[in-house]
Structures are given as structure tokens and as C-alpha cells.
């Protein structure tokens, strides 16, 4: 699919095209301001400002999302494509209990009663190792930690079972340890589910661990696309090389030190 988002003639992202197959995980990397999240917001047409317009087309199961009516779009959102936000704390209505918001989202797409929806959420919450789900559902978002909120969104994915999961920097607002755990949940989600995934991150390490294919973006344009292997082992474009090089240099010291340990253990 190809996406362009422009505002008043000035392109925020230009000529971004990619294809996502069933069960595939695409990683979008780039530095801040490269237009990563604009792409997925554009796919779902979430920019509500009148100044922002779209060009091109997003073909999903043969249909162009850009030519759908808002009503049809609402059926695609959530049910077909679910978006995981980067900051759980602000993504949930601050004055509603977790249970009511989640049940509302589930009931928008599935013909179930409130209590059934709640049960479904509880069940999927245990699958992402959230203990005591009943109690969590009675709390407000600000009473939960960032990691737990991120998992709540993953459990919504499990309930709604969308074909495409889009994650917008879902781990970057978290502490290191929690980040790792949430990443593990995403890996589990990818392995156990047949949904396709678009994973946005500025952290090349995470993308390398999780994604099958990688798209590198720079100031609104795609610089390089390829399988994760290709891009990380043999980057074609200067910018990709530069990104990978700096990232490698950053962890070089640490890696050397840690490898020292491995060698010691081996001997």
C-alpha cells in the first residue's frame, strides 16, 4: 500500500509504499521527526485536523481504505486493524475504570454482553501474565504502571483478534526491565497469533529482535526497505549504515564486556 500525508500542500510524509503480508511483522525505524507514527495514523485516517489530507491508497484485502466512508472506517478500526499506543497512561480515559473502557471497545466489535466482554478480557489478561485481572479492571489507569497498561492493550488485541496490529513505540516510555517484558509479550503475540504487525520503534535493537522486515524512514521518506537480515547485515543506504553504525558503537563497550563473560563461562 502507498501512503502520502500532506498538510496544505506540504508533505509530512511522501510516497511511502510498503506491502504487508499475513502474519508478517514489519518494523518501521527512524529518528524523531521522521514521520513514523504519521504513517500508521494515516493508514487509519486518524488525523482529525482538516488541514491534513491524504494522497495515494491503502489497499486492505483489496479495498482502498482512503475511499471508505467514516462509518465503514469505524468497522475497520479496532476489528481489522488495532493500534497499540506508546503511552498507556494517556491512552485510556483517565476518569473511567479500566474494565468499562475495555468492555466498551470489545462490545463495539463483538456482539456480547458487558459481563461476557469482561470475562473475555480477564481471560486474555491472564495470557499476558497480568495477575488478578478482576481487580485491575476495577482500577483507574493512573493506578496502574506503564507496563501493565501496555499489556492491557495487548490483551485487547488478543480479544479482538485483528488482522493487523499496529504498535507505535509501545515500549519506549517504559523502564528497561518492563520494556523487556513487554517486548517478550509482543514476541509471544507474534508467534502465537497469525496477525500481521507493524511495529514502530526508534530502537534498532528491538526491531532486530522482533521484526521480519524493516523499513527505514528519514524526514518523511522511505530510505530503505528489506528483510531484517538484509537491512541489518548489509545496509544499502548511507543513512541506514549511519544509524546502525551509531547504535553498534553505543553498545560496543557493553557488548565487549558481556562477551568477556561468555568466554569466561565457556572456558
Amino acid at each position: 500500500m502507498g501512503v502520502s500525508v500532506k498538510t496544505d500542500g506540504h508533505y509530512l510524509i511522501n510516497n511511502v509504499s510498503f506491502k504487508l503480508d499475513k502474519g508478517e511483522c514489519l518494523g518501521i525505524v527512524g529518528e524523531s521527526g521522521s514521520g513514523k507514527s504519521t504513517v500508521i495514523k494515516g493508514i487509519l485516517r486518524l488525523h482529525n485536523s482538516k488541514a491534513i489530507g491524504y494522497d495515494g491508497e491503502v489497499l486492505y484485502k483489496g479495498e482502498n481504505l482512503f475511499s471508505k466512508t467514516p462509518k465503514e472506517m469505524n468497522e475497520v478500526r479496532g476489528k481489522e486493524m488495532f493500534m497499540v499506543f506508546q503511552d498507556g497512561m494517556s491512552a485510556f480515559d483517565p476518569s473511567a475504570r479500566m474494565g468499562s473502557v475495555c468492555a466498551e471497545i470489545v462490545r463495539t466489535h463483538l456482539p456480547v454482553t458487558k459481563s461476557e466482554a469482561r470475562e473475555m478480557i480477564c481471560e486474555s489478561m491472564t495470557r499476558v501474565s497480568l495477575k488478578d485481572p478482576e481487580k485491575i479492571l476495577d482500577l483507574y489507569p493512573f493506578q496502574l504502571s506503564g507496563g501493565m497498561l501496555q499489556r492491557m492493550m495487548i490483551s485487547l488485541v488478543l480479544v479482538l483478534n485483528p488482522s493487523v496490529v499496529m504498535a507505535d513505540e509501545p515500549t519506549s516510555a517504559l523502564d528497561a526491565i518492563t520494556q523487556r517484558k513487554v517486548l517478550d509479550d509482543f514476541i509471544k503475540l507474534k508467534n502465537e497469533h497469525d496477525s500481521a504487525m507493524i511495529f514502530i520503534s526508534h530502537d534498532l535493537g528491538i526491531v532486530k529482535k522482533l521484526c521480519d522486515r524493516v523499513m527505514v524512514m528519514k524526514s518523511g521518506e522511505v530510505v530503505e526497505t528489506g528483510t531484517a537480515m538484509e537491512v541489518f547485515e548489509d545496509p544499502k543506504h548511507e543513512y541506514t549504515k549511519y544509524l546502525i553504525d551509531t547504535r553498534v558503537r553505543l553498545s560496543k563497550n557493553f557488548k565487549v564486556l558481556m562477551e568477556g563473560l561468555c568466554r569466561e563461562k565457556a572456558s
Binding site: K50, Q86, F92, F142, K181
Partner: protein, 349 residues
Amino acid sequence: MVLRSRITTIDKSGFINNKKGCEYNDSQPVYYEILMQGDDMKAYIAKRLLFLIPMLLIVSFLAFSLVNLTSKDPAADILRSQGYPEFTQEMIEQVKVEYGLDKPFLVRYFTWLGDAIRFDLGKSYVKGQSVSAMIFTALGYTMQLVGTTLITVMLFALFFGILCTIFEGKALDITVRIVLYIVAAMPAFWIATHAIWFFSNTLHWLPTSGVGSPAHFVMPTLVLSIGYFTFYFRMIRNSMLENVNENYVLFLRSSGVKERSIMKHVLRNSLQTAVAAFCMAIPGMMAGSVIIENVFAWPGIGRVCVSAIFSRDMPVILGYILFIAVMYCFFNIFSDILNAALNPRLRRN
């Protein structure tokens, strides 16, 4: 990585600062200090009410000393306010004894306070009536006016607030805002006078002033509403627009929730502040209706007070000040409690 910095700032402002220990066993729910529920809420209310006592003492003392210490010769004032153009020393002595002015200041304060607790605010110098009776009779009328105004304001502000949020930037929104700008800059009494001239004297649709029929309510209510309406309209519109751009709206929308249901979430979040502010508007209107009551000859407390000022009737003025200040204190606490009940985030403290 920008996000991380945002989290830290939230952290500093005390929103999510109660992380218990480290998070490495994250699968165990880390319950951030659970808020007041049930008993805690009661404790909060009790604490706030307890705080009211010293507050009321100070307020009453300030009011009493303000009225009593500024007058050089209160007894002469009393006589003058009772209409004696000239008076002898004897008369002054007699008045002093009659009104207890010969006693020391603090003794007078505590006597007055003791009486005030029993709703006895002394007697009017001019009419000789009990001040509390005067205030309570007038209060009935003022409360009727405040009640109708409050309902009008709420209905209009909500209606236009929501409408203008939905049609933000469209002709309707812009027109409403321009009109409100101009109306808010006009003095209320100026509008009132013109309304009387136009609707009563020219068209003969509505009575000019006084109380009696429901028709008497129309003009005072509408004129009094104008100022408050501008404020609440702006407040509702601002907080709704602010909420519309919040992340949770985007999340709900990205999950395919219908716009109407999203609007409910937005409303609930943006009305929290408005409800508490509506609550504070009640004492505000009681005090703010002074001018309108006088223009429309509405026999409320504001009018009682203004006529007391012209006749220098101190007990009435003092009673009025005390009454409004006490109302302010009460409603302030009430709106705090209401806010805490409505907005779970605030219950933390």
C-alpha cells in the same frame, strides 16, 4: 525517547510518583496507593469539615472587627441611623447600654458570636427587626433568582459549549463567540435597563420590576445569566477542545468506537471541572446579584444590604457579610468534595 521525559515530568507533579519499589516483578500488580473509597472518603469529608471551624472563627472575627473597629462613635452612628438629627450625651449612654457597646471589644465579639451561632444576628438599627429574619426572608427571593439563573446558565452553557465544540471553527462557533465577546463587555445593569425599557415600557410584555408572577423572573434571570453564561461557556468549550485532542480520544477512535460514545468520554472528563465550578457559582451569584436585584427591585439580600448601607445599618451589613462568607466557605468545601468524588485522580491527597 521524548516520551520518557514526559513521564518524568508527570512524575514530578505527583501523578504517578508512588511506585512501590522496583518493577521487575511486574506481573504482580503493583497497586499504586489506592484512593479513598468508602471510609477514606468519609475521613476526607470529616477532615475538610474540621478545617471549617477555625476558618469560620477567623472569618467571623475579621468581619466583626472590620465593622466595629472602624466606627469612631458607634452609638452616635446608631442614633443617626435611627433618624435623630441631634442627640444628647444621655441618649448616647442609653444607646450604649442598650446595644452593649459599653463592654470591651472581645466580650462583645464573643457575645455576638454566641448569638450568631444560634442564628441571632442582632436587631436592625433602623427597622428594629431581627437581622436574621430579614436576611432569611430576603434569602428566599435571592435563592429563587439564583436557582432559575443556575438552571438557565447550565442548560445554555452545556448546549452551546457542546455545539461549538462539535462545530469548532465553523460559522456557528464563531458567531456565538463574537456575540459573547461583545455581550461580556457590556455592563449587566446597562443591558438590564435597556431590557426594561424595551420589553416592559415599549412592548409591555414583561413587568418592569418586583416579584410575583413567573413573568417577573424572566428579565432578572436572563440578565444575571449573561455574565455567568459567558464564563461557563468558555470553560466548557475550552476543556472539551482540550480533551478532544487527548490521546485517549485517539485510542478510542483507533479502536473503532463510535463518535457518539467518544463524545460521552470527552464530556465526562471535561465536565468534572465545570460541575465543581457550578457549585462555587451559587454563593458567587448570591453576592453577584446585588446590582441586578437593585435594578429590578428584587427584594433579595443584595437589596437589603444596599439599603442598609445607605442608612448605615451596621448589624444588617455585618450579618450580610458573615452570611455570604459562611456560604462561601461551605460551598467551597462542598465543591472540593464533589470534585474529589467525580475526579478519581484528585482523591489521592
